[in-house]
C-alpha cells in the first residue's frame, strides 16, 4: 500500500470519535440484553403457554399482513410508478404517511374509521354486525396500515427500474399488457418484492402502538409478542428479557437474509 493511499484512508479524528460513539450506542443495548438474559430459564419461558400463544399469534398475523401487503401493495406501487394518474406525488405521500406517523396516532385513526363508532365501522356494525376493533383481524389491519408502505416504496422503485424496451419488445411479440406484466415485469421486479415483503414482515412483527390502540390486549387473539414483552416488564423482567431476545434473533436473521439487498432495492427511489 502506498503512502498516498494510507493517507487517503485516514478518517478525521472528530468524525472517527463520533462514529464510534454511534457504534457503541447501537451495540451496548443489544450486548446488555444478551448479558442480562437469564439463559437458565430460557426453556421455561419458551415453552410457557402465554409466550407460545403470543409468538404464534405474532407469526400468524404478520405473515397474513405480508401476504395482504403484496396483494394490495404491488398494484399500488405499479400505479405510483407507471400510471399517469393526476396527483401521483400527493397519493404517494398519503399512502406512505403511516410510515412516519406515531403508531399510536395510526391506531386512533383506525378507531376513528373502523371502530364501532367509526366512519365505516358504524356501517359495518349496523348492516353486517361486524365489529373489527379488539379482534384478530384488527391486529392484521393495524400491522398492514403501518407496514405496507415499506413494500410499496421498495416495489415502486423496482417498477421504475425495470421499465424499458424489454416490455415493449414483449408487446411487439404479441403479448397483452397483462401477459407482459405477469411474465416480464413481475419477474424483473421480484428482488424488490422480496425485499419489500421482508421489510414489511419485520415491521408487522414488531408492531406495538397501533395494535394495542386499535386491537387491544386480549391473550390469544390480540396479544402479540411485542405487547407480551411490555406486559412481562411489569410482572417478571426475566420473561421480558427472554422474549426480547427471541425478537432480536428474528431481526438478526432478517438482516442476514437480506444482506443489504433492500438498500439496493430502494436506492433508486426518487
Amino acid at each position: 500500500m502506498s503512502r498516498q493511499q494510507r493517507h487517503d484512508a485516514r478518517v478525521p479524528i472528530a468524525l472517527a470519535v463520533l462514529g464510534w460513539l454511534a457504534v457503541a450506542f447501537f451495540v451496548l443495548p443489544i450486548m446488555a440484553l444478551v448479558l442480562r438474559v437469564p439463559w437458565s430459564s430460557l426453556s421455561d419461558v419458551i415453552t410457557d403457554d402465554a409466550t407460545t400463544e403470543a409468538l404464534t399469534l405474532s407469526v400468524f398475523t404478520s405473515v397474513i399482513t405480508t401476504v395482504l401487503a403484496i396483494v394490495l401493495g404491488v398494484p399500488l406501487a405499479w400505479l405510483l410508478a407507471r400510471s399517469n394518474i393526476p396527483g401521483r406525488q400527493f397519493i404517494r405521500a398519503l399512502c406512505t404517511l403511516s410510515m412516519v406517523l406515531p403508531p399510536v396516532v395510526a391506531g386512533v385513526a383506525l378507531l376513528a374509521s373502523l371502530g364501532r363508532r367509526g366512519v365505516v365501522g358504524e356501517i359495518l356494525d349496523d348492516w353486517f354486525g361486524v365489529r373489527l376493533p379488539f379482534t384478530m383481524p384488527a391486529v392484521v389491519i393495524a400491522q398492514l396500515f403501518v407496514a405496507m408502505p415499506f413494500l410499496v416504496l421498495t416495489v415502486e422503485s423496482g417498477f421504475a427500474r425495470s421499465a424499458g424496451t424489454v416490455e415493449e419488445a414483449a408487446r411487439t411479440l404479441g403479448a397483452s399488457p397483462w401477459y407482459v406484466f405477469t411474465r416480464v415485469t413481475l419477474p424483473a421486479t421480484q428482488p424488490a418484492i422480496v425485499a419489500g415483503a421482508v421489510l414489511t414482515w419485520a415491521r408487522a412483527l414488531g408492531e406495538f402502538g397501533a395494535t394495542i390502540t386499535f386491537a387491544g390486549n386480549f391473550p390469544g387473539t390480540t396479544r402479540t409478542l411485542p405487547i407480551a414483552t411490555y406486559l412481562a416488564l411489569e410482572s417478571d423482567i426475566d420473561d421480558a428479557l427472554l422474549i426480547s431476545m427471541v425478537m432480536v434473533v428474528i431481526s438478526v436473521v432478517i438482516l442476514v437474509a437480506l444482506r443489504g439487498r433492500w438498500v439496493g432495492a430502494i436506492g433508486g427511489m426518487r
Binding site: T172, L173, A188
Partner: protein, 359 residues
C-alpha cells in the same frame, strides 16, 4: 384474402405525422411484401420514432398506417391496433432480451403469448434457432451472450412468430466484424421470406448492401426514396452525398480474394458466394503513408494523389491508379504526409473494412 390474387400488391402503407420532442415526423412511403426498405439518415432524424409508430408503441398524430388493407392506425377515425395485434416483429437496437428467461424461452415467448403450448413452442424455438445458427444457445441466459449471439437470438425470437412485417433498429451498430458477417448472411437468407422488412440504420454501407429501396430521412421528413443505385446517382441531400463517397468497386470474388482488374484486395469474413460482386470501401477506413507501412503485408499499394479537397475539418484525397478511390484523412494526418499533387503515397486498408455484396 382473395383479392391478393387480383393484382393488388400486398404492402405496408405508411403515411403519418407525429411530433416527438423537437422533431416533427412526417413520412409517406410503402413497403411491399418481400421487399427490404432501409431508412437512412443522420442521428436524431426520427428514424427510430418512425419504427415505433409502425409497431404501435406510439400512435400517429395524423395520417394512417395499414397493412394489406387492414388499418393499424388511423388518426382521423381513431382506429388503433395495439402492438400485440399487429402481425409484426421488432428487433430492437439493444435486442431487449428478457433477462430472466433462457434463450429458448425468449425465442418461444411470442408463441407462448399467443397461447401455443409450452412443448410445441419450445420445439419451434429450437427449429428457428437451428435456422439462424444459434442451435447451441438454447439453454444459455441472455446475460452470458456476446453482442452477435444476442442479435441472433433477437432475430430468432422475432422470426418465431412468423411475422409479415419485420422492423430492425440499427441491426449492425453494436457488432464486431465477424458478427457483422454472420448478421449479413442472416439478412441475405431472410430475403426469401415473404415479409416486408424495414431497417433503420445510420450506416449507408449497410443500407446500400441490404435494401431494395432506400428512404432517406432528415429532420423527420423524407428527402429521397429510391433504389440504392438511384440514390447514389442523384443524391438529394448532404447525407446522401456522403454516401456517394463510399467508393463502390466492381470486381470478382474468389474466397477472400477480390480482383479489381489492375489490382486485388483481401477481404474479411463475408457470406457472399464467389463471382461478380460490388465491394465498398469507406473513405475513412483507408490510411495513407509516406513510406511502405511495416507489418501489414496485405492490402498495401503504391499510388498517387490526384486531387485534394479540404473542407469541414477533413481532407478528402482522390487517389490515382491502380485504384481510383476517394479517401478521407485528418488535416494533421495529411500534413504529416508532406506530399504534393502527383506525388507518391502508400495506401492501406484492413481486410475487415471492405464490405462485399453480390453484384
Amino acid at each position: 384474402m382473395g383479392w391478393r390474387n387480383w393484382g393488388y400488391e400486398v404492402s405496408l402503407s405508411i403515411d403519418v405525422k407525429r411530433r416527438i420532442g423537437a422533431t416533427q415526423l412526417n413520412v409517406q412511403f410503402t413497403v411491399a411484401i418481400g421487399e427490404t426498405v432501409a431508412i437512412v439518415g443522420p442521428n436524431g432524424a426520427g428514424k427510430t420514432s418512425l419504427l415505433r409508430v409502425v409497431a404501435g408503441l406510439i400512435s400517429a398524430d395524423e395520417g394512417r398506417i395499414s397493412w394489406d388493407g387492414m388499418v393499424w392506425d388511423d388518426a382521423s377515425s381513431g382506429e388503433f391496433s395495439p402492438p400485440e395485434q399487429r402481425p409484426l416483429a421488432y428487433v430492437f437496437q439493444d435486442y431487449a432480451l428478457i433477462e430472466h428467461l433462457t434463450v429458448g424461452d425468449n425465442v418461444a415467448f411470442g408463441l407462448r403469448a399467443r397461447g401455443v403450448r409450452r412443448r410445441r413452442a419450445r420445439e419451434r424455438a429450437q427449429e428457428v434457432l437451428d435456422v439462424v445458427g444459434g442451435s447451441d444457445l438454447v439453454e444459455r441466459m441472455p446475460s452470458s451472450l456476446s453482442g452477435g449471439e444476442a442479435q441472433t437470438v433477437a432475430i430468432a425470437r422475432a422470426l418465431a412468430t412468423e411475422p409479415t412485417v419485420m422492423l430492425f433498429d440499427e441491426p449492425f451498430a453494436a457488432l464486431d466484424a465477424s458478427a457483422r458477417a454472420h448478421a449479413r448472411r442472416l439478412f441475405s437468407s431472410m430475403r426469401s421470406l415473404s415479409m416486408a422488412r424495414l431497417i433503420v440504420t445510420h450506416d449507408a454501407v449497410e443500407a446500400l448492401t441490404l435494401a431494395d429501396r432506400i428512404v432517406v430521412v432528415e429532420s423527420g421528413s423524407v428527402v429521397q426514396i429510391g433504389t440504392p443505385s438511384e440514390v447514389l446517382a442523384t443524391p438529394r441531400s448532404h447525407f446522401v452525398a456522403e454516401i456517394l463517397g463510399l467508393n463502390p468497386l466492381s470486381g470478382q470474388l474468389r474466397g477472400d480474394e477480390l480482383s479489381l482488374g489492375a489490382m486485388s484486395l483481401t477481404v474479411g469474413a463475408h457470406g457472399v458466394d464467389d463471382g461478380e460482386v460490388i465491394a465498398i470501401v469507406r473513405p475513412r477506413s483507408v490510411s495513407l503513408h509516406r513510406e511502405r507501412p511495416e507489418g501489414s503485408p496485405r492490402n498495401v499499394w503504391r499510388t498517387t494523389v490526384e486531387a485534394v479537397d479540404r473542407s469541414d475539418g477533413r481532407v478528402r484525397v482522390q487517389l490515382g491508379a491502380p485504384l481510383p478511390i476517394a479517401v478521407e484523412v485528418t488535416p494533421a494526418g495529411f500534413d504529416a504526409l508532406a506530399t504534393e499533387l502527383d506525388g507518391d503515397v502508400w495506401a492501406s486498408v484492413k481486410a475487415s473494412e471492405i464490405v462485399v455484396q453480390p453484384a
